[in-house]
Symmetry: C2
Subunit: 146 residues, 2 copies
């Protein structure tokens, strides 16, 4: 319970406790269409902390979720450092002091305004795309006509 919540939904719905599977680095890499190198790099950057059986890494559900969140964060333009910051604070939460927690709330508020702007940006960008497409189709229609 001290890490990112894999079961957020499976608590609400009645799904199985999700088989206690593990994954190799290669499996995980194929699942998310990244290279093993990328996954190792994320570990080095403090975003993942898989188990070790001897030399080789063993990933659990928790790690898979973290990777998923990381990649989602990246698609939204967050740096790995930003993502790590949130993950670290989240992990430190249960025994966190008040100052740390307030800092976390600040960061969250920050991300939230960021998301809001992104939503606005997307809306505006979609309009631009609409506009460009309409014009392109007009020109095309004229070409077809002649």
């Amino acid at each position: 319970m001290s890490t990112l919540n894999t079961e957020a939904t499976s608590v609400a719905n009645g799904s199985l406790p999700r088989q206690r599977r593990t994954y190799s680095i290669g499996e995980l890499a194929r699942m998310f269409e990244v290279t093993p190198r990328t996954i190792r790099f994320y570990e080095q950057e403090g975003l993942l902390a898989p188990e070790r059986r001897g030399q080789t890494r063993i990933y659990h559900e928790k790690d898979r979720v973290r990777l998923k969140l990381t990649l989602r964060g990246k698609r939204l333009g967050f740096s790995l450092a930003e993502i790590r910051e949130v993950i670290e604070m989240y992990d430190a939460m249960p025994d966190g002091n008040a100052r740390q927690l307030k800092r976390l709330l600040e960061i969250l508020a920050d991300k939230r305004t960021n998301m809001e702007r992104q939503l606005e940006d997307i809306r505006l960008m979609q309009r631009e795309l609409d506009d460009v497409e309409v014009r392109a189709r007009e020109v095309l229609a004229r070409l077809d006509q002649d």
Copy 2:
């Protein structure tokens, strides 16, 4: 009419024809909170093509709009190369051949699905943030209570 449409809205509403102002590189930089270096770099990358009076660059409304679109694109995670691609095709539109236009439509569709996924990512991310915040507030409350 052969460039990005500054007046997309001012045609629809009744706003003034927007003073035919010009801007220095420094003005533009302050407006958008970037450095002049950045603006020169964008020009070098083919995203801007300001007028020249002797050595010095002179930016018009058209350039300001392009810069705005470029920065918006960046916030959405597009590379400068991608942004340039769209701008170039847009500029080439009026006398574009059918193949070019179809290619443009493809790119647009591509960006569109990208936007859709971003929207979904944002929704999911917002839920995560909500979840984290709730937990953080719970822990805080427990601390205040004791």
